[in-house]
Symmetry: C2
Subunit: 80 residues, 2 copies
C-alpha cells in the first residue's frame, strides 16, 4: 500500500485538474489524504515544505513529491 498526500490551496485554476487526478488514483493501492491549506490546515505547510513541496497542487507519494501544473507558489499560500 502506498501512502499519498495531496496538498492544495483551492487555487481556482487547478480545481478541475485536482479532481481529475484524484479520480484516476487506484484507491486499492493508495492510501490517500487530501490537505487543503486554506481550510484550517495551514499548520501542515511546514510538513509539506519538509517533503520538498514548492508549489501546489502537489502529490507526495511515499515521501516523493510530484508537482502538478503550477497553481500557486508556497509563498502565495503563506501570504494569501
Amino acid at each position: 500500500m502506498s501512502n499519498a498526500i495531496f496538498y492544495h490551496a483551492g487555487c481556482p485554476v487547478c480545481v478541475s485538474a485536482e479532481s481529475q487526478i484524484l479520480e484516476i488514483i487506484d484507491r486499492r493501492k493508495v492510501d490517500l489524504e487530501v490537505v487543503h491549506f486554506g481550510e484550517g490546515q495551514a499548520n501542515r505547510i511546514r510538513e509539506a515544505e519538509a517533503y520538498g513541496v514548492k508549489s501546489v497542487p502537489a502529490l507526495v507519494i511515499d515521501g516523493q513529491v510530484l508537482h502538478i501544473n503550477f497553481g500557486a507558489s508556497m509563498d502565495d499560500v503563506k501570504n494569501g
Copy 2:
C-alpha cells in the same frame, strides 16, 4: 472510461516519478498510453503541443494537460 496519455522523453531525473504515477493509476478507469519521444515517437511531439504540453513528463487526461514536476522543456526534447 477516461483516456490518458503519458508523454515523456526518458529524462533520468524523472524516471522514478514517472513509474510512481503510472503505478497509482487505476487501470479499470483509465485507458493509458505511454509515449516516449526518444524512442521513435518524435512524430507525436506536435500532437502533445496541440494538447498544450509545455514540459515532460506530462499526463493528458481526456484532453486536459497535467504537467508533472519539471523534467525537460519541449524545446529540449526537440533539440536533444
